[in-house]
């Protein structure tokens, strides 16, 4: 409210609309600390990489594998089930949320898991050199370009085939082709989606990503995919960014590194992808619309990528020597561990019910088609000699 004062008297009070500060969107530390502490303690219990803390789930699983007779000559938990810090963090989080339950006081702190994921991605820059860009840069851009725009086409086709409705088609296309939850919410006002449609599309993409997180590494190990190919597959096939990184690191450190790098390409394509999906699904209605490319670019461009670029550029210039780079790699894994615990604690298995049978069939079929398309694309690229498909 503003008050105009003339001759010592207030004569009018006119309301003014002020844009709320970006920082006001973050919950306060007072509200968040229980959730943040819970994430840190659970991550520590699961086994933080590089920290020799003995009382962890990781140590326990290694001990059980050493005591039990080997299965097919391998340790059951660590070698066959590939239970590493990623799976441990996620499973512990999911079990705590869905079996024991999460107190309300944790909820605000758990929303910071996205911050830790972004911080981890920025620090991932310290693990790349210029040679990585030369080796995988163009391949990852081509794969992501095909998967973002090709995926949107698949979903548009499926949506028209099943008469799903334009807004629902756009939501699912955005959720699966770009970065899941954020993309669904970003496109929702543009396509005039109903709130229940947004919740439905989010539930389908999140549960599909969850299935991918555990199933894709299993399939990858079965086929014997190389780290490069699996990293590209997880970045292109898994809907949510958090789940992309988790799927990559669930396979191997190198695959996680590649998936994080490739995911940057997808994040850069978000503004273009949002507009593409908007025009594909509501093409007939756009004549009178006021959607501006620059406005979408300004609002949807992921600016934390600038942080990644700074760290990566400093690493390429060898500003810091190897020990510091290794320490940054460990801190990066700690950020990811916190984020994976948070991701697990935010995963509600009841969302599977919310997604419903029709959503699961349409979303999962189209999502699987995208993964199939990506495998074909990677195979073609491997045949051209640009990447190695099998180990």
């Amino acid at each position: 409210m503003t008050t105009a004062i003339t001759n010592g008297q207030a004569i009018a009070e006119t309301p003014t609309t002020r844009e709320p500060s970006v920082w006001s969107a973050l919950p306060s530390f007072k509200k968040s600390w229980p959730g943040l502490l819970a994430m840190a303690l659970l991550a520590l219990f699961c086994g933080l990489p590089g920290l020799n803390f003995p009382l962890t789930l990781d140590t326990l699983l290694h001990y059980i594998d050493a005591v039990l007779p080997p299965v097919y000559g391998k340790g059951f938990f660590t070698d066959l089930l590939h239970m590493n810090y990623v799976v441990n963090c996620l499973l512990v989080g999911i079990i705590v949320r869905n079996v024991i339950g999460v107190p309300n006081s944790w909820e605000a702190g758990l929303t910071y898991s996205g911050v830790f994921m972004n911080a981890g991605i920025i620090m991932l820059g310290s693990q790349y050199l210029l040679s990585d860009l030369i080796k995988l840069g163009w391949v990852s851009i081509i794969v992501m370009f095909f998967m973002v725009f090709g995926g949107a086409l698949i979903f548009t086709f499926m949506g028209r085939l099943t008469k799903m409705g334009d807004s629902m088609t756009a939501l699912l296309a955005a959720g699966f082709s770009m970065c899941g939850v954020s993309a669904c919410i970003a496109i929702s006002p543009m396509v005039r989606a109903k709130s229940e449609e947004v919740a439905y599309a989010i539930a389908v993409s999140v549960t599909f990503g969850l299935v991918c997180l555990f199933a894709l590494p299993f399939v990858g190990h079965l086929i014997g995919m190389s780290n490069d190919a699996f990293g590209l597959l997880s970045a292109a096939g898994v809907p949510n960014s958090n789940q992309v990184i988790a799927t990559g690191f669930n396979y191997s450190f190198e695959a996680g590194r590649i998936s994080g790098f490739t995911n940057i390409g997808r994040l850069v394509l978000i503004p273009g992808g949002v507009l593409f999906i908007y025009f594909m699904t509501l093409g007939k209605e756009i004549k009178g619309s006021s959607i501006s490319f620059w406005q979408v670019l300004r609002e949807k461009f992921p600016i934390f990528i600038i942080g990644f670029a700074i760290v990566w550029a400093l690493n390429c210039m060898k500003v810091w020597p190897l020990p510091a780079s290794e320490a940054m790699g460990k801190v990066m894994e700690w950020f990811f561990s916190l984020s994976f615990v948070g991701l697990g604690l935010l995963t509600k298995l009841s969302d599977l019910r919310k997604a419903g049978i029709k959503g699961i069939i349409i979303g999962y079929t189209a999502g699987s088609m995208r993964i199939g398309l990506c495998l074909v694309l990677l195979y073609i690229i491997a045949k051209m000699g640009k990447i190695v498909f099998l180990q």
């Binding site: 970006v22 972004n118 981890g120 310290s126 609002e299 760290v311 510091a324 940054m328 801190v331």
Partner: protein, 57 residues
């Protein structure tokens, strides 16, 4: 009949306003998360770099 159509339109407008408000709030939170992540990550990089400079490892 006309009343029912009016009520449905009102509900539709109300719902799209709700969706828009949710998207705005989410967009602001997303940006705040990004700024926060940049502060944390770049801060961590500077600290680790400084530790190396001091000869901790």
């Amino acid at each position: 009949m006309a009343d029912t159509i009016d009520t449905n339109q009102d509900q539709g407008t109300e719902d799209s306003k709700k969706v828009e408000a949710t998207a705005d709030a989410k967009q602001r939170r997303h940006r705040a998360d990004e700024y926060m992540a940049m502060i944390i990550a770049l801060g961590a990089v500077v600290i680790l770099w400084f530790f190396q400079y001091l000869g901790f490892y």
